[in-house]
């Protein structure tokens, strides 16, 4: 009997999902962007594994999973603050490694103190047909499947090409942030100067009722003038919307495509993933920056990823 090559699932939860950099082009039909909660970590995992940066990975959120290798040779990388066991022996995370058929790979649950999301990349990628041009899972829409026990996540290679085993340089390791940067707007006119000041001068905490759609913030209530009068408009992940309750919600990749709440500011692209890595109860502050600064931060992140990718190839 030949088994499909890949990772046979012995234990998994619905918090473990296939994700890539998200789906674009279908928001006008109501389809969320979805994609990795922390795209930076996903890119790192792919570079370590030897893949193009946007290849679909298995995303982990706090919970773990257990797999058995059914491919003849499988080269993988895991980026995230989760304990990793190979054949029940501890193995460094933020590293890549080659496994043979029959070996056991366990990603253990994490307390999330130093990060709540992790990414498992396999060299050559998983054999998954894109749906609406992306492999990102969106459970609420029924896009992408629920990986279940006993199933096999099939890889494109039965015998992965020989690849270097590497450790991620300490300077590149993703860390949850104590400061999240945001640009004011687009609905600044709905908030008085005092209310806006509150956003940037409060110690916020991630509320327990946070998920892939949005992170709710505890710490202060912000009052929007005339909330409830807005005509629904398209919303972008990163938007900080303020409903009538006054509790701000930062929209995450699985957010709906439209919303009717005023938005006081937008978390910049590079910091959405850093925010996703915060666990419920974590404290942080929101720092006000401008769009030009945000572009420079994005450029520098892409440059450091590109530099790591090039150096990796020379290794």
């Amino acid at each position: 009997m030949t088994e499909a090559p890949g990772l046979k699932i012995h234990k998994i939860t619905p918090l473990c999902q296939l994700q890539d950099l998200g789906r674009s082009g279908y928001q006008r039909f109501g389809v969320s962007r979805s994609g990795a909660m922390d795209p930076y970590s996903l890119r790192l995992a792919n570079i370590l594994a030897g893949n193009p940066q946007g290849t679909a990975c298995l995303e982990f959120a706090l919970a773990g999973a257990v797999f058995e290798v059914t491919a003849r040779r499988l080269h993988f990388a895991f980026v995230g603050d989760f304990p990793v066991l190979i054949n029940e022996e501890p193995f460094p995370n933020n590293a890549s490694y080659t496994l043979a058929r029959g070996e056991r790979l366990e990603i253990c649950a994490t307390d999330g103190k130093r990060g709540t999301h992790g990414y498992l990349a396999v060299l050559g990628g998983f054999a998954v047909e894109p749906e609406l041009r992306s492999c990102a899972t969106h459970l609420r829409s029924g896009i992408g499947g629920r990986a279940s026990r006993g199933a096999t996540l099939i890889t494109n290679h039965d015998e992965a090409p020989l690849a270097v085993e590497r450790q991620l340089p300490e300077t590149l390791v993703p860390r949850p942030a104590k400061t999240i940067r945001a640009v004011p707007g687009p609905q600044t006119e709905y908030f008085s100067a005092d209310e806006t000041r509150k956003l940037f001068h409060t110690t916020w905490r991630i509320a327990a009722s946070s998920d892939r759609m949005g992170y709710r913030l505890d710490g202060a209530q912000i009052q929007a003038q005339d909330a409830g009068s807005m005509i629904s408009e398209p919303v972008s992940p990163g938007s900080i919307q303020v409903p009538a309750s006054g509790q701000p919600i930062v929209l995450m990749p699985d957010c709906g495509t439209v919303g009717g709440y005023p938005k006081i500011a937008t978390v910049i692209s590079t910091d959405r993933g850093r925010m996703a890595q915060l666990r419920p109860g974590s404290e942080f502050e929101i720092e006000r920056i401008n769009a030009a600064q945000a572009v420079e931060l994005l450029r520098s992140e892409y440059e450091s990823l590109a530099a790591f990718q090039i150096n990796g190839c020379i290794n």
């Binding site: 109501g30 749906e131 687009p186 005509i231 398209p234 972008s236 990163g238 938007s239 439209v258 945000a294």
Partner: protein, 243 residues
Amino acid sequence: MAPSLKPIAESAILVEFENRIAPEVNDQVLALLAALEAANPKGLIEAVPAYRTLLAYFDPLQTDYPTMAETLRSLSTGSESHRRQGTRWEIPVWYGGPAGLDLEAVAKRHGLSEEEVIKIHTGAIYRVYLVGFAPGWAFLGGLDERLHTPRLDTPRAEVPAGAISIAGQQGLVCGPAMPSGWNLLGQTPERTWAPERKEPFFIEPGDEVTFRPVDETEFKELSKRVAAGQRAATNVRTGRSGL
């Protein structure tokens, strides 16, 4: 009227037209969307239209805000020549039934019989202002004033796929099952999002929708056809259903 533009952090622009729900305002949004797609400016990732706004996502490492804003401004002042002609869809609805949980309450509230509610609801031509929230959910304007009804006090945790509902002055054709606080009148066998079809979506902003009442027998018959990959909605102008 020239729209106003607002940056959303470093990688999107919100274009705002007049602050009201009206076909002529929504037409400007859709004309801009069509012009933008025809121009396909460097760095544009995706544009999302709504009632009176358009959100344009761009890659700030390929273009910049002033360039993209200038493109959007110049395209907004253009003609509507790029705008596609909307399609008018006739959608079969089984009113009442297991999904029409609020038909009776809506009738009572407005002092109408259930038959009168159905007659009024099927008597209008609706405009699709927005497809959003969840895949294929189509938000409609043009609901008869006699049926204007506030949202439920407590939203339902889930309404079935294909639910037909109303809230305030709007109508709604639901795609896949989701939470909703709208008043449920019935259900269509049609799927506004069918991933296995060659064209997974068919209702677009700017289209028109009318409703045709069907009984349980026809609903079940049409459901079977939909399950087999056919379309239950009819393009009124061509008379074509199916695929």
